[in-house]
Every structure is written in structure tokens, then in C-alpha cells.
Amino acid sequence: MADSVLIKGGSALLEPGRLTQADVLVADGVIRRAGKGVRSQAARVIDASGCVVAPGLVDIHAHLREPGMEYKEDVASGSRAAVCGGYTTVFCMPNTEPAIDNASVAEYVFDRGVDEGLCMILPHGAITVGRAGEVLAPMGEMGKCRAGVKGFSDDGSPLVDAEIMRRAMEYARTMGALIISHSEERSLSADGQMNEGYYSTFLGLRGIPPESEEIAVFRDIRLAEKTGARLHLAHLSTAGSVALVRDARRRGMEVTCEVTPHHFSLDESALMDYDTNLKMNPPLRSRADIEALLEGLSDGTIDAIATDHAPHAPHEKETEFDVAEFGVVGLETCLGLVMSRLVEPGVLSLEDALGKLTAVPAHIMEMERFGYRARLEEGEPADIVVFDPSAEWTVDPRTFKSRSRNTPYAGWGLKGKVTHTLFRGTVVVADGELVGAPETATLPARDEASTASTARAEGTKAKG
């Protein structure tokens, strides 16, 4: 077994919600064995004792800036950042230049990911052409192209016109697509720089009221209920938004939503020194909003944790606050923040937290169509992260693999450090260091949904 890897002695998420002491044997890009006391003449053994072994993390919401803004990030640098943060699948937002609003741009981005070969890069498509909020983008064509686009969003800016959102949902429903809502009522948030409240008043910065998000969340929930479209709400930040989702669920609606690490780890009071690394949209909210997000996470209202990784160049952040760009990088700090701020204080069990970082987002994005379920089961693609849940480390942006450094977490001590990342069975991160891309990446294409079952059959054969 030339390229086989045995991950030995870790606490493995063999099935959702349950960590067990187990070994995981990987060969030919798939998981061959997973269970207690796996014996093998593996070419490489990773000692995972004391570590957690989980499916590679899935980020449902990142900005990789390619094409058009490669000075901030590109698919290659974004891929490197991703695997160092434990991610093996990254969905990237279409607010590029040009926007990902047609099949050729979507395939370009997807192919760049394949070229880099460190992880899966799957683009979301724009809802409207050029993200201009006027004419529907070809969802059908993007869905059928090599990139297999499933999620559509005008993220970065909201879809202002409710009628266009309604028609987009109707069309998306027919195409089997998912609408991802960047919920923001712009007429309330225009020129806003931070959460509206005492701190915005004190600092003299234009506020973004929570209602700007909540009105849009309400609008899109109602429209999705009316149209029967599948709706995913991006980066929820307010208590009111969580309540709206909870109510919709109670009515039996199948809406999903995500929260970012910065919204549950930082509040608006952090802005007192006008640090532009804390400028993001939606903005950092109040203490009470954080409490509601934590409650939503723990009671299951909030399905997934996404980074909203938004790289920006130094000159776009080292400037006046109201001139600075919105956004924060997140791929390389997300796991540490989840471990330190959710698992450590007991907001989420480790198992639940891992679910919100892996299987749940994979399911929201219907990755089953790629034969991918983000599970450590025999025959599944071997996308795996190994991390030490108790290892403490200090965030040093200079070590980031991302092209950008716009993080508010510099100097923070975090718990939970990635030691190994495997993508399709190849070790791409070893002992916390980037090793490199596999020479022959076996990325499943949309029409190769049978790959997994083939692999499973082979796995059985090898075992026997």
C-alpha cells in the first residue's frame, strides 16, 4: 500500500455526533477502514493520540477574490489558507470581477481549485447578472456546468428589489438551486460603519441598526415560504434574526442559516480604538446579540458555522475607518475560535461543533451529489482534519497562508490547532505545516457521483 496513511489513536468522528477512539486507514484517496485497532502496513502512520480526527472542514461562505482582485487573495492562496485551517471544501462567493454570474467564470474558478489541488473550491453563483440586482443570472447553466453551482447569492450586497428576489426564488426552486441571502435592508444601513447603538453614538460613526438585517431576514423567509424555494441565510448577527429563524422553523419551514466566528467572539465595544480590522458587514453587534447567537447555536437554530473569510490588502484597511473595506480573514482562525469560544465554555459539544463545521454545511450544499457527505466512513473520500483540541497557540498574522492579514485576532491565544489535513487521501498539511498539493488530485466531477461507490467496492476488495 504505497500511498496509504494510517491515522492512529485519535478520537474520531466516525458517525455524526459521536467521537470514539479509532484508527482511520486511508488509501487511493478514500477511507479504507475506520474503527478500533486497524492493523495495516501503511506507508505512513500519523500518531493522532490526544487529537481529534474529523472530516475536513467545509466552509460554506468565503471570498477568494479570484478573478479580478488577486492582490487580496486568489484560489491558490485561499486554498493554502483553507487547508492550514483544517478546511478541505470551500465555497466561494461570486462577488468577483467579473462576477461569477455565468458558467465560464464558475468553471474558471473551479478549475483553478483543481489546478491547485489542495482542497475543493466550489463557487457560488450570483443571483443576478453582474450582481446588479436587475436581471437573473443563468442558474440552470451554472448548475449544470463543471463547477456544479448549487448556491446563489448576491453576497457583499443585498438583493434590494423584493420582486426580483421573489422571481429568483421561484426560478431557483425549479432549477433545484439554493438561494443564499445576504440579508440587509440597505435604506436603513446606508453609509453605516458599525452596529447602531451607544458605541456608534460615542464614536460618531454611522450606525447599522439590527433591524436592517432583521427586516431582510423576514422578507426572504416570507418569500421563501411563499415560493417554496430553499433558503440559506448568511452570517446572521442579531438576536432578532435568530428569533425569526426559530419562528420559521416552528412553522415547519426548512430554512438554514450560518453564523461567523467574529460575530460570536467579538462585540461592538471592541471598536473603541477604531481598529479597521473590526469593520465588517454585518457589523459586530451587542453583547445581547452574542448571547442570542450562542443560544441559537446550542439549541440548533443556527445550522452551520462559516468563516465569511474576506481578505483585504493593507492599504484597504490602513485608512480612515469610514473609507476602510468591510471584512475579516477567517479560514486560519475559525477552528481555534470555535474550540475556544464555543466548545471550551460548553456552548456546544465538540461533536456538535464539528457537525456545524462539516456534515451540516456539506448537506446544506447538497454535496451528496458529489458523493461527498463529510463522514469518516469506509469508502468515503478521504478528506480529513486532525487537530489537537487542547493545544494552545497565539495568532500571528505573519504566518498566515492567506495573501491578506486583516484579522482582529492578532495576539489572541486560542485552543485547538490543526496538525494534519488530508485531501483525497494525500497529506497536504503535516505537523501544522503546509506540505503541498498531491501530484494527481482525484477530484470528483459532478457527473462522477458514482466515484464513492466504486471506491467503496475497491475498499472492500483491498480489505479482503
Partner: protein, 309 residues
């Protein structure tokens, strides 16, 4: 000053003692402005840059005069003459200024927090001469100076601030400064001109001008701008005058006249009737000369030694 003795960025950074000391020191500088030779050599050999990236003749002149009366060399760098209008960043401008070897930058900027950001890019003192809707600390100091000289003290003083509080850095600095020296502040405006949770800055709020007039020792009128009508903050200047203007009728009805102040320039006939403006003009021009004294005190304290060390 306050937390960082090299800069004056915000009243929020100052303690009560800092404010009182500056007001005391401003009194000595007011005396300098009354001399036949209105100039002392205190800051001879120091260079001060007035970096005014938002048009303001009055404050710039006041700072320029203050610096010159302390014998400092002054360079003026304003929007029309600067490369910032050509897209140079504030950071690069700051670096350029550092390379010129200046001792202090007095900055006026439309963006809240710009002076604080500048402190990270320069190695000299930074004085905030007004940043966006954030603060205008020297204006608040000169206002307190004027109140103290005219009314004898600040503690327990009842100050009503009338007008567009939301857009006003002058209001924010005054609310904080007056709070620190033990004065009471009442904000007078419709809710649409008040920022969120402004009460938490330590002020009461009313929508009634007449309630304020009956209560206050000092009536501080802010300049109201026509643009706010387009933003639906209030219906018209006419209605503003009706509800919140210091009209002749309101003024003549008052048995006990408060000290009327205004940061200037006044909109006669809008926030204050012209006849009333004439009557109270001496206080408002007094604010202007107090401005020079206060700014001398600030520059001297930051550059000339003064308190500390």
C-alpha cells in the same frame, strides 16, 4: 493628554483634572492675547502643521493664531492644496509630514477616528480639530472656558444643547466635558436629530424647547443644516425655527435670561433670531477669543512641557 500625554484626540480621554488644568492655563494665555505684543517665545523652534482636510476657516485660523502667538512655525495643509485630493492616503500624508520633522499635527478630518489613526503613522503630537461626527475637543474646552469665565463655575451648571445632536461632534465633546466637570446637560431636539442611546453618554433628552428654556443656565445652540431636510430629519427650516429656534418671542418671554452660546457660524433667522443674536453677540465673539487661548494652552501643554513628567 489624558491617557496619552502626547496627543489630544478626544474629551473622552481626559479626566476632570486635565480639563480644569487646561482651563486654568488658558486663562494665562488669554492674558497674553491682551498684551501689546501678543506673542511669547514658548514654542520657538517648534513646527506645527495644520492638516485641514475638511474646509474650516475659523478653526484653522484659531489654531494658526494660537501657534503663532506661541512663536511656533506653522504650515497649512488644506484640501485644496494637498495631495489627498489626488488620492494620496492619510497614512502616506502622515509619513510625509514625519519626514519633514514637525512637532505636532493639528488635524481636521471628515472621518471619525482619523486623528487616532494618524497617531499610528506619525511620531509627533496629534491634536484633533474635529473628526467627522466624533469629537471636537478644543471647541468643548473653549466653551467650558467661556461658561466658567462668564458664570463663575461649572459644577452644577445647567446646560441645554439645542439642535442637530446626531451630526454634531461639538455636542458629543460638550456632553462628555460638561459631564466630567459636574455640569448637567439637557439635549433639545426631535428624536430624528438625536443619535441612538445618547442618554448613555450622560445627558437628558427633551423635545421641548420651552422646557429647556425654563431650566437652563446656558443655552447652547447648534448650527442647523438644510441638508437634514432632504434626509427627512425634520420637515423644513421654518418648522425647525418654530419648534427649536430662539425666537424673539421666546427670548422676550424669559425672565431669567440664560447665557446664549453658539459654535458659529450662526444661521440668523433659523436657530436664532437676528435681534437676539445681536443682543448676545458678545458671548459668541468671546467664544472665538477663548478659542485662541484654549488652543495655546493645549499646544503649550503638549509641546512646551506644561503638566506631567
Amino acid at each position: 493628554m489624558g491617557n496619552d500625554h502626547r496627543h489630544l484626540l478626544a474629551i473622552a480621554d481626559l479626566g476632570r483634572e486635565d480639563i480644569i488644568r487646561l482651563l486654568d492655563s488658558a486663562r494665562s494665555f488669554a492674558e497674553v492675547s491682551a498684551r501689546p505684543v501678543k506673542k511669547v517665545p514658548a514654542l520657538r523652534g517648534h513646527t506645527i502643521v495644520n492638516l485641514f482636510l475638511e474646509p474650516s476657516t475659523r478653526t484653522r485660523m484659531s489654531f494658526e493664531l494660537a501657534a503663532k502667538r506661541l512663536s511656533a512655525d506653522v504650515m497649512n495643509f488644506s484640501t485644496s492644496t494637498s495631495s489627498l485630493s489626488k488620492g494620496e492616503s492619510l497614512k502616506d500624508t502622515g509619513k510625509t509630514i514625519v519626514a519633514m520633522g514637525v512637532d505636532a499635527v493639528v488635524i481636521r478630518h471628515k472621518s471619525a477616528g482619523a486623528p487616532r489613526a494618524l497617531t499610528g503613522w506619525v511620531d509627533c503630537s496629534v491634536v484633533n480639530a474635529g473628526d467627522g461626527m466624533h469629537e471636537h475637543p478644543t471647541q468643548a474646552l473653549l466653551d467650558l472656558f467661556t461658561m466658567r469665565e462668564r458664570l463663575g463655575g461649572l459644577e452644577g451648571l445647567k446646560v441645554a444643547i439645542v439642535g442637530d445632536i446626531d451630526h454634531s461632534r461639538v455636542a458629543r465633546s460638550n456632553i462628555l466635558a460638561l459631564g466630567k466637570v459636574g455640569a448637567e446637560v439637557l439635549l433639545v431636539a426631535p428624536r430624528s436629530l438625536l443619535p441612538e442611546k445618547v442618554e448613555e453618554m450622560g445627558a437628558r433628552v427633551t423635545g421641548s424647547m420651552d422646557e429647556a428654556l425654563a431650566w437652563c443656565d446656558v443655552l447652547y445652540l447648534l448650527r442647523i443644516q438644510m441638508e437634514r431636510v432632504a434626509e427627512s430629519r425634520f420637515p423644513s427650516l421654518r418648522e425647525y425655527t418654530l419648534e427649536y429656534g430662539l425666537t424673539q418671542t421666546r427670548w422676550s418671554r424669559l425672565e431669567r435670561k440664560p447665557l446664549v452660546m453658539h459654535p458659529g457660524p450662526m444661521n440668523r433667522g433659523v436657530e436664532i433670531a437676528s435681534v437676539v443674536a445681536d443682543e448676545v453677540e458678545s458671548v459668541i465673539t468671546g467664544q472665538v477669543s477663548a478659542g485662541v487661548a484654549v488652543r495655546m494652552a493645549v499646544l503649550f501643554e503638549l509641546l512646551g512641557g506644561g503638566h506631567g513628567g
